[in-house]
């Protein structure tokens, strides 16, 4: 069955077209949204510290992005956006009762998460070669603090995708019940959303 030839299920708990009461519900579960808002608050604090540091050290924040590897930042953004797209596809596949396809999409998402981690580690090595270290100046301290924290989030969120693959394989996530899967997908998208702000702050804006 094609993904485009089926009714549209939302939130893992029903179909929009046959159960309109499912619209306006919390995607996934409440617990994951507590986690998502806690993480978003953590990143918000980083951003506020960035704003204050930038106001105090304008020259460092103007020159800093010029020394970073923009290509690495861009490729990492591509990897995260594409992985989010794959996770959304995986969710669409389980809604039409196609766990095999869902697992394939999730492996692709995990692969993109892996690419992100490899690029980021390579970038850190490249930085050190350029003399950019955690204590070089305030901009690079912010850069390392923010990106390493984000890298940790990508790491454990990739672990949650592997967990979703396992659950799909043993048949615990199905067309009728995939709330946990939806929760994991929301968390992954949150990690992507944080990077949507981090990338321009560190690589683009001067």
């Amino acid at each position: 069955m094609s993904i485009t030839a089926t009714e549209f299920h939302l939130n893992g708990s029903g179909s929009v077209t046959t159960e309109p009461e499912t619209v306006n519900k919390i995607p996934g579960n409440r617990a994951v949204w507590v986690g998502i808002f806690a993480e978003m608050t953590e990143f918000a604090l980083f951003f506020l510290v960035y704003f204050i540091a930038k106001a105090h050290y304008p020259e460092q924040f103007e020159q800093g992005p010029l020394e970073l590897n923009t290509l690495a930042g861009m490729l990492n953004t591509f990897a995260l956006i594409t992985s989010s797209f794959f996770v959304a596809k995986a969710l669409a596949a389980i809604r039409i009762d196609d766990p095999e396809q869902s697992i394939k999409w999730l492996w692709r998402a995990v692969f993109c998460g892996g690419i992100y981690l490899v690029i980021k580690v390579w970038e850190y090595h490249w930085n050190v070669g350029q003399g950019i270290e955690t204590n070089t100046n305030e901009f690079y301290t912010m850069y390392y603090y923010m990106t390493f924290n984000h890298l940790l989030h990508v790491g454990w969120a990739s672990g949650s995708l592997l967990w979703a693959i396992h659950q799909l394989k043993v048949g615990r996530y199905t067309k009728e019940n995939h709330i946990g899967f939806t929760a994991i997908a929301c968390y992954w998208h949150m990690v992507d959303l944080a990077w949507v702000i981090i990338f321009p702050l560190l690589y683009v804006l001067r």
């Binding site: 993904i3 485009t4 030839a5 089926t6 009714e7 549209f8 939302l10 939130n11 929009v16 077209t17 619209v23 306006n24 519900k25 919390i26 995607p27 949204w33 808002f37 978003m40 918000a44 951003f47 506020l48 704003f51 204050i52 930038k54 106001a55 105090h56 304008p58 103007e62 992005p65 923009t70 290509l71 930042g73 861009m74 953004t77 591509f78 956006i81 594409t82 989010s84 797209f85 996770v87 959304a88 596809k89 669409a92 997908a185 929301c186 998208h189 992507d192 959303l193 949507v196 702000i197 990338f199 321009p200 702050l201 690589y203 683009v204 804006l205 001067r206």
Partner: protein, 100 residues
């Protein structure tokens, strides 16, 4: 009707991915070529807000979801792009305000 709804949803997903990739590449181009200015900052802030909204609506599917979650998530991507712009505009005032 049902098929149309699904078709539109999936098409929007694919379209969103392509659009997000293009905006990201454009941002990188700006990083490499453009001189810093308020106009560039405004453009980048706009792109952050738009990318965030696109991911929330079409990847996270918040455009159908609980209104409280929608409100807070969407607000985040209005407030922070605005703060980025305001920080640029009032950098000296912010530095003075936060000097111990």
């Amino acid at each position: 009707m049902k098929n149309n709804l699904s078709l539109n949803s999936i098409s929007a997903l694919d379209f969103s991915w392509i659009l997000l990739m293009i905006i990201t590449a454009a941002n990188a181009l700006v990083a490499e070529t453009a001189e810093p200015s308020l106009a560039i900052t405004a453009l980048i802030c706009g792109s952050i807000a738009y990318k965030g909204r696109r991911i929330m609506d079409y990847f996270m599917e918040l455009n159908h979801a609980n209104s409280t979650i929608q409100f807070f998530m969407r607000s985040y991507f209005h407030v922070f792009p605005a703060l980025i712009f305001l920080t640029e505009l009032f950098a000296e005032e912010l530095a003075a305000l936060t000097t111990l």
